[in-house]
Amino acid sequence: MIVFEKPKSLVDMPMHYCPGCTHGIIHRLVAEAIDELGIQHKTIGIASVGCSVFAYNYFDCDMVQAAHGRAPAVATGVKRANPENIVFTYQGDGDLASIGTAETVHAAARNENITIIFVNNAIYGMTGGQMAPTSLPGQVTQTSPYGRDTTQVGFPVKMCEMLSKVDGATYLERVAVNNVRNVRNAKKAIKKAFQNQVEGKGFSLIEVLSTCPTNWGKNPLDSLKWQEDNMTPYYPLGVYKDSTKEEK
């Protein structure tokens, strides 16, 4: 009996992600959810700009590569064109919470029947470690070399908390993938976010706390610990909105 194998919805190829980065785990969880729901044949993914820009190579389903921050708008156009398709975006924090904030908020406000996977690692990875909208107060990055000064550049944006006040949003959950228990929870949340779309329930966003060993300047294990000790307290895990429950 095979107990562990590559998900069908992932292409068998080397990924470009840095060693220890959790994008690989998150890709796998998305692919597993798609496999288990039997929707690979009708799924369309929207890749964004950032480290996950090459996601269009890795997921084995139809893919569109969107401009920076525009993935929810592109997803809206794809979904409205063919509502029978399952449409998801895969976006980082700079893409979703900074340059694409409007697209995110308004897709939620419309309760657009799409699934958003939001990977938050509190830094711009692809461009080499600049301050992200989700960088923590005091966090040292290339563009906040003296630490994020909240008096000058403001505070991190908490997307799940913010979107929980948007009437249209259906399902919002923040998860992490820093230990086995959290990975299992993340998988459940991601699967539910796709299941919601299959059932026509509307906008689901899963925020996944992630790491960036390369730009954080830490080894993979220390990165997982830094995330747990610093990010998780600022970005508490849990369900922020679930109107599928209210419907019952």
């Binding site: 893919m63 979904k79 409205r80 398709n85």
Partner: protein, 353 residues
């Protein structure tokens, strides 16, 4: 031939788009194109289509990208400042080889400018408002009827060449009412096997993408695209000639400026001045060949434009500066009178009456 109806340019455009098979419209309110959005909002639900007022011009063009990627005929419309915002998305449409129609009902600029008619987005439309090596097919109607005809044609050209097409209208053409026939031209079918519609287990995955980090490969992509552009320049250039056979002074004008210019040409003829006009209907591809040929016969050209002078550069290039080219222009939302153009004709003719 269907009966003619009296329609506003913008509304006729919207109805023509629906008749051409466009069932996905995404837009944002801006004067003087808002009638298109309002018409789509009324009509799309009745024809099983999608009208969505986006949160921004940027979101609207990206929704167009999504529906175009999914293989649907799709469009957006805006006016000058809105087109600036859409320019990023237009570059992506070109880079992803996606067909779509973008309508610009031009108003005066720069900045917020005004809301009166203008042609000052010529450079933006023809020279590329967005980044990178790309072209748009740019169609410039000068009547409500031609707005309808070019809307049909625009969708066909977009699908035929898998590229964005811009319909460059202006506040006058968009707002004026004229009798129009909405007779349906026959829709050709186009291959959309590249679209993202789900593999359904019948094919390998499709990817719609403009990213290419290997420069030698990206150069090949661009060269291939420009081969297509060269073919378009050879086969799709449209223009109208008016009294050019014996003309000594040739006006070049498009859109609403060509309507005013025609009156000026007629008035000049009455004075015994051999005036004529070449009206580009496609601004890209520009009618270089006919201008070059005409330059062999005429003494001078006058570029008549509602801008500080933009198309005039392309006229000079087309004729290789072999004849003097004079500018007759108004800007900021002002429209020249036929008399103003006539004065310019008389001046270029040597000032004798």
């Amino acid at each position: 031939m269907a009966d003619k109806v009296l329609m506003k340019g913008n509304e006729a455009l919207a109805e023509a788009a629906i008749m051409a098979g466009c069932k996905h419209y995404y837009g944002y309110p801006i004067t003087p194109q808002t009638e298109i959005a309002a018409y789509m909002a009324r009509r799309m639900p009745k024809v099983g289509g999608v009208f969505l007022q986006a949160e921004s011009e940027i979101a609207a063009i990206n929704m167009v990208i999504g529906s175009a990627a999914a293989g649907k005929r799709t469009m957006t419309s805006s006016s000058s400042p809105g087109i600036s915002l859409k320019s990023e998305g237009i570059s992506y449409l070109a880079g992803c080889d996606l067909p779509a129609l973008i309508v610009n009902v031009q108003r005066g600029g720069p900045g917020l400018g005004g809301i009166q008619p203008s042609q000052a987005d010529y450079f933006q439309a023809i020279k590329g408002g967005g980044h990178g090596d790309y072209k748009l097919i740019v169609l410039a109607p000068n009547s409500v009827q031609e707005t309808v005809d070019l809307t049909f044609k625009g969708f066909d050209l977009a699908d035929k060449y898998r590229m964005p097409v811009m319909l460059l209208s202006d506040g006058t053409i968009g707002q004026m009412m004229e009798p129009v026939s909405l007779n349906q031209s026959k829709n050709a079918t186009y291959d959309k096997s590249w679209a993202v519609t789900g593999t359904y287990g019948k094919r390998t995955k499709n990817i719609v993408n403009s990213l290419c980090l290997r420069p030698e490969e990206l150069e090949e992509w661009n060269k291939a695209r420009y081969e297509r552009y060269n073919k378009i320049a050879k086969e799709e250039t449209l223009y109208e000639e008016y009294l050019t056979e014996d003309a000594e002074i040739c006006i070049v004008a498009f859109g609403i400026a060509s309507r005013v210019s025609k009156n000026a040409v007629n008035a000049g003829r009455k004075l015994g001045i051999k005036a004529g006009m070449i009206r580009p209907i496609t601004l890209w591809p520009f009618p270089n060949e006919v201008l070059a040929q005409t330059a062999k016969r005429v003494k001078a050209f006058i570029s008549v434009e509602l801008s500080m002078g933009q198309m005039i550069d392309d006229v000079k290039l087309a004729i290789n500066c072999s004849r003097p080219v004079t500018l007759c222009s108004r800007s900021g939302g002002m429209i020249m009178s036929p008399e103003e153009i006539l004065q310019k004709i008389i001046e270029v003719d040597g000032g004798k009456q």
